[in-house]
Amino acid sequence: MVDKLGVAVIGYGFMGTTHLSAWKYIEECELKAVMGRTLEKVKEVAKKFEVEAYTSLEELLRRKDIDIIDICTPTNTHAKYAITFMEAGKHVFVEKPIALSLKDADEMIRSAKKNRVKFMVGHVLRFFPEYMKIKEIIDRGMIGEPVIARAFRGGPIPEWSPWFLDKSQSGGVAIDLAIHDIDFLMWVFNQRVESVYAKVERLVHKDITAEDYALINLRFENGGIALVEANWALPKQFPFTMKLEIDGTKGMIMSDNQSPVPVKLITNEKVASFAPETLPWRPAVHPFPLDPYYRELKHFVECILEDKTPMTDGEAARNSLEVCLAALKSAELNTPVRLPFKEG
């Protein structure tokens, strides 16, 4: 038996913790370290996951037994961390979006190539069971050629992680949230986006710098069209909702995460819905084979061990970011923006 791959996670917020839980169940790997800025908090997390705590990049870099770095920090810091670790010969998994600029994204892609390390971006939607089923149905030709789609993704403003509300860290809803559906639609349409027309605004929350609402119209190169609505402008009680409908020449698919709920808990105080297989932070069964976070990380490990290209590699992630940036530009200029998108 070969040695297990050593893993370190950078960041211990919502996504960092989700990944830490998932890594525990990937048997080819051993979770070894977690890094963050505040020593006290990192120590707390490290204790919970039985790993070592770091606050210094240099110290973590000295660990020779770490092969994989999983970056779950605010988006504006992705490139800096990714490139540092790639230069040190580590395989890098970075949470979506890849970065906030195409310049950063391109440098990350170049660095991964130069250093011959695997690089994957966490477009986890492709690993959600319902979205995998949609992909399968479309690939089997059951809806014919996809022609028109509508995607909805939204919930209350993510106040639990304040950096999302800061445009300079998260890029706002058009980058952080809309990118999920943009990536997925480009994948299942199997098309590049030709042009984008968008409204991106601070709709309800005027006291933050990030936009909380994005309506993005996509036109694909084959003439197909899609609406992507990414919404952080919803009231606090609104359950996090993801819906997708795609109409094609031979049929249509519809998906709505609010309707297939296998478990509901109702008490005098609250009503709660659970879809245990797709909520990794409340797993019903361990290991949780349908958990999308587990599966995306597992896919990355397979790519390392079998020397394959991850399905959400740097290029794919960069192309999705490009559409988001075009959407922001379109909203700013109030005109459709054609791709390829040029920064600056």
């Binding site: 027309y197 609406l227 009231p235 609104f238 109409d247 094609g248 049929g251 109030n334």
Partner: protein, 337 residues
């Protein structure tokens, strides 16, 4: 003073002619008495169904003094000259949407109805549906604060426009899905925001059904004068095997909350066991907006009130529709006329 409104139908090409006719006869103060259609077969079929007289000429029907009002459910391009004739004959007018295929025609129709002193109501049935009326009341009561964005669907089962061939013949319909299914949502958005569209941008996709000569899917983005964002998907793109005809949904985001409207959601699910392929079907039990709309129109005539959906509302829908086509052609947002 009359206590009953007698209706003549001018054209029956639109599906709704039947349901409007049934609604009129269901009401104690309404009666369908005559029908004109330039398609003799359609006209006679309708006449037989309602046990009324068929006219080969609209003028002959309009000469009848016992007719108080007309329902215009002819093909879209024929609305204009029928409205002109009806106004000249002094008949009240209930006109199917879109009321015209050009803004100029719509303006002229309104002017002529005004001059003749007749009621002119647009068949915007959603203004009369109990669910969308409830939403209007919730908004007026401040339930969600100021309305900021309205994103809706009025999508249609793609098999339906094929049942009556004229829907896909632009010389009769004036266009495809954009012409047919922009106006209901555009009107709800105007009604709920009490504001007019200042900017329209439309993407028309490649067709779901390449065999028809008009577009069958589109996405329209609106900016209203008060700053609100609107979005309309009125595509005829639902698969033919869908359990229902289509939908009217609207997500309305306000400063204090959100309203989700799904107006035709009240259904009983039914499936038979004749064969394994028996498909799930919806049986609707919600509000009948056609009936409510006719009721309101009759009340406007009998009590001399202004319609809830006026000719002007019809005109604004046409203006947004025409701007949609123009914007899709030139590839940028434009202001409706």
């Amino acid at each position: 003073m009359v206590n009953k409104v007698r209706f003549g139908f001018l054209g029956t090409a639109h599906f709704h002619a039947d349901s409007y006719g049934r609604a009129i006869n269901q009401l104690p103060d309404g009666e369908v008495v005559a029908v004109y259609d330039d398609d003799e077969r359609l006209g006679k079929e309708f006449a037989q169904k309602f046990n009324i007289e068929y006219y080969k000429s609209p003028d002959d029907l309009l000469k009848r003094e016992d007719i108080d009002a007309v329902v215009i459910t002819a093909e879209n391009v024929k609305h204009y000259h029928l409205v002109v004739k009806a106004a000249e004959a002094g008949k009240h007018i209930l006109c199917e949407k879109p009321i015209a295929v050009t803004v100029e025609h719509a303006d002229d129709m309104i002017k002529r109805a005004e001059k003749a002193g007749v009621k002119f109501q647009t068949c915007y049935v959603m203004r009369y549906h109990s669910a969308s009326v409830l939403v209007k009341n919730l908004i007026e009561d401040g339930a969600i604060g100021k309305v900021l964005a309205l994103v809706g669907t009025n999508k249609l089962n793609c098999s339906l426009p094929l049942l009556r061939g004229w829907f896909t013949r632009p010389e009769l319909s004036g266009g495809g899905a954009v012409m047919d299914h922009t106006v209901h949502l555009a009107d709800l958005i105007r009604w709920y925001t009490k504001s007019e569209a200042t900017e329209v941008y439309t993407e028309i996709g490649k067709n779901i059904n390449p065999k028809i000569g008009v577009e069958d899917n589109f996405l329209t983005t609106l900016r209203m004068e008060n700053g609100a964002i609107g979005h309309i998907d009125g595509s005829w793109s639902y698969a033919a095997g869908l359990y229902t005809w289509g939908d009217v949904t609207l997500e309305i985001i306000g400063t204090e909350g959100v309203i989700l409207l799904d107006a035709f959601r009240q259904n009983i699910y039914y499936v038979g066991m004749e064969s394994p392929n028996d498909k799930l079907t919806w049986y609707y039990y919600g509000c009948d907006p056609d009936l409510e709309m006719i009721k309101s129109f009759i009340e406007c005539i009998l009590c001399d009130k202004e319609p809830i959906a006026t000719g002007f509302d019809g005109r604004q829908g046409v203006a947004i529709t025409i701007a949609s086509y123009e914007s899709a052609k030139i590839g940028r947002p434009i202001k409706p006329k």
